[in-house]
Symmetry: C2
Subunit: 397 residues, 2 copies
Amino acid sequence: MTRDRSALDDLLAAAGDDAYCIEAGSADSNQLYLSGFDAPDPFFTAYTGDELAVLVSGLEYGRARKESHADTVARLSSYDYATRAADEGRATALAGVYADFLADLGVESTLVPERFPVGVADGLRDHGVAVDVDRDGVVETLRATKTDEEADAVRRATAANEAAMAAAEDLIADAGVAADGTLLLADDAGEATLTSERVKEAIEVTLLRHGCALDETIVACGADAADPHDRGSGPLAAGEPIIVDIFPREKASKYHSDMTRTFSKGAPSDTVAEWFDLTHEALDAALDAVEPGATGADVHAAACEVYEDAGHPTLRADPDTETGFIHSTGHGVGLDVHEQPGLNPRGGELEAGQVITVEPGLYDPEVGGVRIEDIVIVTEDGYENLTGDYPVELVVE
Amino acid sequence: MTRDRSALDDLLAAAGDDAYCIEAGSADSNQLYLSGFDAPDPFFTAYTGDELAVLVSGLEYGRARKESHADTVARLSSYDYATRAADEGRATALAGVYADFLADLGVESTLVPERFPVGVADGLRDHGVAVDVDRDGVVETLRATKTDEEADAVRRATAANEAAMAAAEDLIADAGVAADGTLLLADDAGEATLTSERVKEAIEVTLLRHGCALDETIVACGADAADPHDRGSGPLAAGEPIIVDIFPREKASKYHSDMTRTFSKGAPSDTVAEWFDLTHEALDAALDAVEPGATGADVHAAACEVYEDAGHPTLRADPDTETGFIHSTGHGVGLDVHEQPGLNPRGGELEAGQVITVEPGLYDPEVGGVRIEDIVIVTEDGYENLTGDYPVELVVE
């Protein structure tokens, strides 16, 4: 994919550093984005403004030359790594090799991301390379605004996500209800219990068949749903809110999507119904605030106001609250499922091309949880809701 | 799971530091292991020898108290994080909050892992906390030796892995062969091509149904197989080596397994058949070398000798070679699919309770690739081969 590195060039010029360096495997999305190279073990990337250079093991050398964005690909053996590692140990040898690699690139000072490993940073400093920390997260900022190609990858992951959500909704809608309220798998002769695990399996198999991988999926019912990060487990129950939050990654592109619906098999309590309507209202209010120039803080405030006006606690009104609206309103989505920009009290100005989720919710262990999450692309005149066609309906049966 | 932290206590005493600290999300396996807390976003863990303390966001506070190993759970809001972040920015505020948290624990100096973020390390140093890098990877060393409970998790992931391998093998064995040698999906009325992607889907659906997640799977045929990290794509062909390398993670425990077989639908070339027999011989030679007190270097040497005696290049004979035996002989498996100990020229003494793969292979773009990988537990008197019952047979039909 095309990379616009002009913000990085500007930052290097302003900071007076010779390069921006990353040492990580491609599970670090800054590394994957800057190098364009997908490899599991840590490797070294240096961007000098003129040149993008990567230093990899012999095992990755051939593939790095074919697949990475680098202008120059070097390998550890060119810096006598094996002998040095045998003499000095792995970590010391690597720092020396990286220092020599930077010397060959004419780099005497470098910016690095906050999460650059301190072992490597201190090792480079010991070799006389100045290492400054980029406190502004320039690569995260670059990543936040998507090219059309990146946005298309998110669209494909979203289509897979909607198919998986429909599979989950169908299982819940078609379920039977036992005398004690437990949901029963519709097509099972033996009346097996419908569990969170069974719904997740349906979701995840659907995602795989649509070319997506996944880390975790949330199908949380009742008290589980009151904790926004609880993945859920065990039997599902009628009349209880069931939060289904799915965040797959398209395997080919590595880009994510993210959406949430809350379902109740049959009528829930009045409180849950009221929470759902209020959360739908908060979603609409937050979406209405999305446009270029508005800040993430503005969007977050719009959701908080709906909840606060109805008398619910929010984190901004009470930083210690454990019930009510206890998370931010949303986040960027891309190579990471949580990335820039944030829709929170510190969220900066939104820009066209950013992909964000909007996901208000209410939580209380006495009641359960309700969350609704759409994923949208910020456009020149507002936003395009990628999950806007998926119904927002609590009761399914 | 029970954690034996005595090696960590010894290290702290020897280094004269007050604590061992990690700042990362649970995708960092050292964090997951030390804190026992599974949360996506970075949080702070401090182990003082007397006390394990974690500092988390309000969103994770309730779950951390229930699920983590920590004696003490604190939250960011107790250190006025929101106000400080609004005033100073996120990174500076976090460093200040972490410094105050450490002051409350009586910590003036800390050891950190090599991959601790330099932004946090430099921030703590600015607040007068001494930060020393643990160059020996003490948490990785602790993780290398498994408890019975950890070993059982690997056994369950291995059982899932064998089921997935059988699904892949069946698809290849049952495939038809088109006139041009392309494999055809056996049960498909329209004679669809059997692709790498289709075999991966069968593998991954099987893994999901056995409670495992997965990041990637390798099904690589022909020239793809000549690159050990190529995941493979496109049509599979008869008479070509197809490397199937599967490395799932059990969802509940987060522990991995890892195994590889190489299959050929029908007879391959004499060269491939000879490579396979030689690789089987290298596997047996390496396995024979596995016992407590032997080093990872010894095991690696045993595999290298088989290949070198037969005239094949190895990395130890030629660090620049791009064909032959171009990776290490194996690695530890646990919370990470690649962890300590390494079976490579620098590999130290093996200990009972370690879980390792043994995976010799040969690669050449002109021929393809062959790899056979078993996963074993080092025992008091040798090893237990967890995948030893899965046949090692090249030709399937």
